[in-house]
Symmetry: C2
Subunit: 192 residues, 2 copies
């Protein structure tokens, strides 16, 4: 089982954003939609062994966490708008502190990074971390930031997590997820 | 200089598609928009040394080729809709057989794979190819298909090109581009 968690610092926490303007009205929801795609899609298939957590920290009701579970998700297409529509639907239902299903494989709860870190052990994707290719073992859960740097409070919560870099270039979050999956695929199938 | 060329088998060749329905009305134009993103974007930066060619083969006037030149492109954002709007604009102008500028860094011409292969030497990204990690040298230009397999005619045009695989899993085109960039980044910066 592999997990990715992405912190969306400005990402809207209700459904009041437009699918025609995910970057603006959604608080860079486009970044998170691309991360869902990178985490879950294979060519003509899905990564049923992967979960993707979106930690939404924006207005008006943050933080909330939306979980896409590869094992159960249905009716998700690879385009940004498809993921955006499912996130919007999830954010429109009333929720408490436990995950509530919004659609098959998609659930939502109140709470963010602090809660998630109490439940899983994460490695942090960070350009200053150690190279994922040379790490002897890799964790099965990775956390990363959207287009903004981690805040001081987030850094403090994550300070004990090991840090991994995907390469010498500083990549978008979804591209980093793709590179991690490639490394995990190779290790699992014993490619060099 | 790195180039990626993506064959969009059903991709619309005029501007008569909706930005609200890139997959349907655009003939899976969403796939090509994500490839533009993967080819050109770094975190808070662009890959100015990369060109991305979209070979559009769909109705009504195919084939056409749209070129995004990283060195000159402006006003491109990472979301699918942004690339889609620029492609739509390029497809709306009258063109002949030579590239005509549609916007800074974005040009369009009639013609497709046959013409492009007469101008550059490409490696083909193909899950049955040799592993990019173990290849002693890699080409600087790669060609790949969208969500559909190469046609018999395309296979025939490409039969002399070397073939490379990005890993054991069969990936979406944009994910494959991201993995190739990662390998090229590592080789250029002498990461292991």
């Amino acid at each position: 089982m592999t997990s990715f968690a992405i912190i969306g610092h400005l990402a809207r926490t209700d459904g009041a954003f437009s699918l025609n303007d995910l970057p603006g009205s959604g608080g860079r929801m486009d970044v998170l939609c691309r991360c869902v795609n990178a985490a879950l899609f294979l060519s003509h298939d899905m990564r049923r062994d992967t979960d993707c957590y979106l930690i939404l920290c924006g207005e008006p009701a943050g933080p909330k966490t939306v979980r896409f579970s590869g094992t159960a998700v249905r009716s998700l297409s690879p385009d940004e708008r498809s993921a955006g529509a499912l996130i919007k639907k999830a954010l429109d239902i009333p929720v408490g502190s436990e995950f509530r299903d919004a659609a098959p494989g998609i659930s939502v709860r109140k709470g963010g990074l602090f809660r998630l870190l109490s439940e899983q052990v994460f490695g942090v994707l960070d350009e200053k971390g150690s190279d994922i290719r040379s790490a002897e073992t890799l964790p099965s859960a990775f956390i990363l930031s959207d287009h903004l740097n981690l805040t001081r409070e987030e850094e403090s919560l994550l300070h004990q997590c090991p840090r991994y870099s995907v390469g010498p270039a500083c990549l978008h979050a979804d591209h980093a997820i793709t590179v991690v999956h490639n490394e995990l695929d190779r290790r699992m199938r014993q490619w060099k």
